[in-house]
Symmetry: C2
Subunit: 192 residues, 2 copies
DNA sequence: TCATCCATGTAATTTGTTACATGATTCG
DNA sequence: CGAATCATGTAACAAATTACATGGATGA
């Protein structure tokens, strides 16, 4: 469900091909959303059929076709509507579920898992901190394109809004790290 | 995918019918996981076919059948394995995605959304705080059943592990609240 | 010319959601 | 006897994941 809006949101910045979008969403944890190309291409076609996107196909070289998608007015309306629609119940996190059942496994194993978690979240903090800074410098590909179509007096505000989200992700990761650090101590005490 | 393990984890505490499980998971945001009964019943049957669960059907009254499921040794092995297996990429949150695109809608609308968010997260903090306390008092239905089969010297440790998870959920909700509060100020400034 | 990147797809499977549907039992 | 609760399902649909698959363009 969210992929559709992720695509709309990115295409709102500038038209892109499925390939470009797939790279943008390529499963790396660096951005807010991810999806494999095998999901992206069919979704784009569906959205075009629904009038949310416009497609333009051209030929690169001799015969290599590529289709560039851009957001339509209808697509923009749908995106705006979605952004402020009721968020529904909070997203549930399978990681929390594991942790609830952590008491049935060997404490050492859990400590190992928590260690891995801390490591990964620490990496993410670094990545996201960088990204937030880059956004505030207006120094990311997408944001640059995005700002071209917007009045200069809005630029700071727009960059700040996007950067804020990465600040939040950093804060969430740090919450995890603090919790996991305390939890490891607990498990060590328990094992002692 | 996670539902299977959620079911295993709950059934590890005590055998239950689909109906009881459905109540436990009934979409209320109170617990860590949720699922509708229409998902639970078929999943239970599949898991029984796979040997993860054992089913026992009895008759209540004249002809009302009900099937109680209990976890098998194989199910327990599968659960333990899952708990400490690689968590993979972090769960992505559609809410964050909305926020990234918040710059294209009316600031007032976003402020309204953030207000709703703060309200809900505040409710959740209260609920989860209560639940963590109840767990530390060993005063929840499931935990009581769960502890019956475990040696008394483990009781504190088990309760503490489960309570920890709700502490984390509280901390995460508070992170959201703090962020949203600051973000509202930003939007008010931007609108001024 | 060969490896890397560009570019797009299909198919199978699994998972989850929403809606529809039925009937028994219990308690006041 | 009627309402609430117990108890279990099916069907249709939407979404996501994994694997399989193909071929053109570009540059060293």
């Amino acid at each position: 469900m969210s992929l559709r809006y992720a695509l709309l949101g990115v295409l709102e910045a500038r038209p892109m091909t499925g390939y470009e979008l797939a790279q943008f969403f390529d499963g790396s944890t660096a951005w807010v959303w991810s999806a494999p190309h095998s999901n992206i291409y069919p979704t784009l076609r569906k959205m075009q059929a629904e009038g949310l996107l416009a497609a333009e196909t051209d030929i690169k070289g001799e015969k290599l076709e590529r289709t560039s998608y851009s957001i339509t007015d209808e697509g923009e309306r749908a995106l705006k509507e979605w952004v402020v629609s009721d968020p529904g119940p909070p997203t549930r996190d399978p990681l929390l579920l594991r942790m609830v059942f952590a008491d049935i496994v060997d404490p050492e194993e859990v400590t190992k898992l928590l260690g891995m978690l801390i490591e990964r979240q620490t990496d993410l903090v670094a990545q996201w901190t960088d990204h937030a800074q880059a956004l505030r410098r207006k120094d990311t590909d997408l944001l640059r394109e995005r700002l071209k179509t917007k009045p200069p007096e809005d630029h700071d505000r727009i960059a700040e809004i996007k950067a804020n989200v990465f600040d939040l992700m950093v804060a969430q990761a740090e919450t995890w790290i603090e919790w996991a650090t305390r939890a490891v101590e607990g498990f060590d005490d328990g094992a002692r």
